[in-house]
Symmetry: C2
C-alpha cells in the first residue's frame, strides 16, 4: 500500500492540503528577520477571530501539550491550587501537569460521561487559583460544557484554562464570551497544519496573575508574550519556521472557506458519521446530556461485539482508510473517526465511498461517511 | 528582492536542501502508526553515530532549548546544585534554566573569552549533581573545551550536560569519549533540517540519577525515553511528523556525504572565512587558547571601525546574502557568518562569489567565502 495515498481520518494530525504542504516547503529564512516577523503577525491577526478573542495570542513550537504545560506552569506555583476536571485522557493530563507545579484538586468523572456541574462548583468553592478543563475530550468524543464551567470559575474568581486543541475551529468555541483566560489549540487539528505548533491566547486577567517566573523554562507564556510584542514579533527560542509558513497558508485557506462555514461543514460530516453508525447498529461511546454533546471533530464508537480492533481498523487500513482506536483504559473497546480539518473536497468523499461500496473485509464494517443524513449512499 | 533566493549564512537555521524540503512535504501520516515508528527508529540509528555515542537518543518537538530544558529539569531538583559555565548567551541560558529547577553555581567568563579550567574545577569541587556547558558558543564563535570539563565532571562524580546545538555534526564532538551524559543538538544546524526538533542523547549514568519526575511536564527525558523504547518507537506527545520526514532524509544525505567529510568541509569553509577576514583586516571576535578554538560552524568578527551593523548586514542583504549580527550585550559590535549544514554545492559558492565580485555597497565589505585559503578568488 502507498502510505501516502490514504484517507487519514484520525482526530489529528489531519490531512494537510497540498497548497499548505507547498507553502511549508519554501526555502528557509532567518527567524530573526522582518520576513519572519511579518508571518508571525499575520498569523496572530487571523488567529484572534479563529479563537473568537480580542486577547493576545502566542505561537509556541511544540505539540499542543506544550501549550497546556505553559498555561499551568505560568500560573500555578507550589502552593497554588488548580481544579482539574476530567472525563478522559486529556483531562487527566491537566491533573498530571498540575502535579508538577502546584496543588491539584482533581474532579474526576468516568471516561465518556458528562461533568456533574455541582461537583465542579463544590471543588472550585474550596478556593483555587485556576480551573482547567478540556473542551473537546478527544479520547472519548465528548464536548464538555466550557461556558457553564467558565461561569463557575468567574463566580469564584478563578482563572479559567481550556484545552481547545481538538475543538477550536471545529466545534463552536467562544474564548471571550465564555470567559476563557487561557485557551490552547494545536496546529494539527482544525487548522489542518502538520503538528508542531501550539497556539495559546492569554487574557489580561491571566497575565496579571502570572507567576513572576514560569515553573517551566521552555513552557513560559510570559517570555512568549514579551517576544511577540516586540516592534517586530519574535519568539523567545528558535521557532519551527517551516510550520509557520504552513500555518499562515492554512489560516488564509480557512478564512477563504470561512471559519463558521468550516465549523458547519465539520458538524455536518460528524452528523453523517453518527447517522451511519446508527444505521449500522453501532453504538456511540460517550454519554451526553443537556450540557455535554457528541463531538463534531471526533466520533467515538463502541467496538461492535465480536469484532476486534485489529480486524476493524486493520480492515479499514487495507482499504486505505486510517481511523483511531481507543487509548489507555478503553484501548480495543472503542474506535474513533475524525472529521476535523480543511475541506478535502468531493474527491475525498467520493474516494471514500468508492473504497467502502464493495463490501467489507471479513470483520470490517462498512461505514458511510460524509453522506447527508437520510440519504442512501447510492442516491 | 525574492526572499527565497538568498544565500542564508546565519548560524542556524541553515539552508535546507531541496530533497529535504520535498521529503518534508509528504502527506501527513498518523503519529501512532508503524510507519512513523519506523522513521523514528531509522533516525535514531543514524543519530547515534552522528553523536558518536552508544547511548539512547530521543527526539523532542521544540527548539534546541527544549532539549537543554529537559536535560536540567530531568536531573536537577530543588536542592540539587548545577555548575553552569558561560562565556556567551547560551551558556548564560543554562544558568537561567537551572534557576527554575534547582541551585545554580555560575562560573562566568567574559563573552568570547576562554574558560579558566581551574575556576571550573574549584566550582565543581564544591559539590554538584551536574555540570553544564555549551560546546560551541554560537553567540561568540568560540568552541569550548568539552573534553577537559568532562574530565573534571567525572573526577568529581557530577553528571556532564553539553549543549552541542550548533556543534554536533559541524565541529568534532565525541559524546562517549568525552564522557558526556546528556548531549543536545537542534535540527536546524549541522543536520540542515528546518528548526523544530531537538535531539538528546542520554547515558545510563544520567538515567540512574534522573529525578523521579522531571521539573517540567513537557521537557521530560524519562517520558521521552519510555515512549521511544516501546516495541514501536513513539513520542509521549504528538510529534512534528513533517520534521521527522525531513530529519530522516537529511540524515541519509549526511550519511552519504559522510559525517567526517561534512565536518571536514565545514572546517574548510570556516577556514576560508577566517582567511578572508584576515586579508580584509577584519578582527575575529573571540579570544582563543590551547583549549578553546575558533568555531568551525560560526565565525564571529568585530564590526570594522566606522561601519554600522545596518550598513554591513543591510548591504549584504541587498546582495542576497544573509548573515547574523551580535546578540544582547554585543549587539552591533560583531557580525557572524555560519558555515554549517549540508553541502550547497559549487553553485552556491559561485553564486556567492558573483555577488561579491563587483565591489560592495557603500560601507559593505567584500568577503570571499568558500575559497581555499591562499588562493585568489579569480584563480
Amino acid at each position: 500500500m502507498d502510505i501516502e495515498d490514504t484517507l487519514l481520518m484520525i482526530p489529528g494530525p489531519v490531512k494537510v492540503a497540498p497548497r499548505v504542504l507547498r507553502a511549508m516547503s519554501r526555502p528557509m529564512i532567518s527567524h530573526r528577520s522582518g520576513d519572519f516577523s511579518a508571518i508571525y503577525s499575520d498569523c496572530c491577526a487571523l488567529l484572534r477571530p479563529f479563537f473568537e478573542t480580542a486577547n493576545d495570542v502566542v505561537i509556541m513550537t511544540g505539540s499542543g501539550t506544550v501549550g497546556m504545560d505553559a498555561a499551568v506552569a505560568s500560573t500555578i506555583g507550589h502552593d497554588d491550587k488548580i481544579v482539574t476536571i476530567s472525563n478522559g485522557k486529556f483531562g487527566e493530563r491537566f491533573a498530571e501537569i498540575g502535579e508538577r507545579y502546584g496543588q491539584v484538586v482533581p474532579v474526576k468523572f468516568d471516561w465518556g460521561t458528562p461533568f456533574d456541574l455541582e461537583k465542579v462548583e463544590a471543588a472550585v468553592e474550596g478556593g483555587a487559583k485556576a480551573v482547567a478543563m478540556v473542551h473537546n475530550e478527544t479520547s472519548v468524543g465528548l464536548t464538555n460544557p466550557a461556558k457553564e464551567v467558565g461561569e463557575i470559575a468567574r463566580k469564584h474568581d478563578a482563572l479559567f484554562i481550556v484545552d481547545g486543541i481538538s475543538s477550536i475551529g471545529g466545534n463552536e468555541f467562544q474564548t471571550d464570551k465564555w470567559g476563557i483566560d487561557i485557551a490552547i489549540t494545536g496546529s494539527q487539528k482544525a487548522l489542518a497544519v502538520p503538528p508542531g505548533l501550539a497556539v495559546v491566547s492569554v487574557s489580561p486577567r491571566a497575565e496579571e496573575r502570572f507567576l513572576s517566573k514560569s515553573g517551566s523554562y521552555y513552557a513560559d507564556l510570559k517570555a512568549h508574550l514579551k517576544s511577540a510584542r516586540k516592534s517586530q514579533a519574535q519568539t523567545p527560542f528558535t521557532p519551527a519556521v517551516s510550520l509557520f509558513f504552513a500555518l499562515q497558508e492554512a489560516l488564509h485557506m480557512a478564512e477563504e472557506e470561512g471559519f463558521a462555514a468550516r465549523r458547519a461543514r465539520t458538524a455536518q460530516q460528524a452528523e453523517s458519521v453518527r447517522e451511519a453508525a446508527k444505521a449500522l447498529g453501532i453504538d456511540l461511546f460517550p454519554r451526553v446530556n443537556q450540557h455535554s454533546h457528541y463531538s463534531n471533530t471526533v466520533t467515538a464508537m463502541k467496538m461492535p461485539e465480536g469484532v476486534s480492533d485489529d480486524k476493524l481498523r486493520g480492515g479499514m487500513k487495507k482499504r486505505g482508510v486510517i481511523v483511531s482506536g481507543g487509548q489507555d483504559l478503553i484501548k480495543g473497546k472503542i474506535f474513533r473517526i475524525g472529521t476535523s480539518g480543511a475541506d478535502t473536497g468531493p474527491g475525498g468523499q467520493d474516494r471514500l465511498l468508492r473504497r467502502w461500496s464493495g463490501g467489507g473485509e471479513p470483520g470490517a464494517i462498512q461505514i458511510i461517511f460524509f453522506q447527508p443524513p437520510g440519504l442512501n449512499r447510492h442516491d
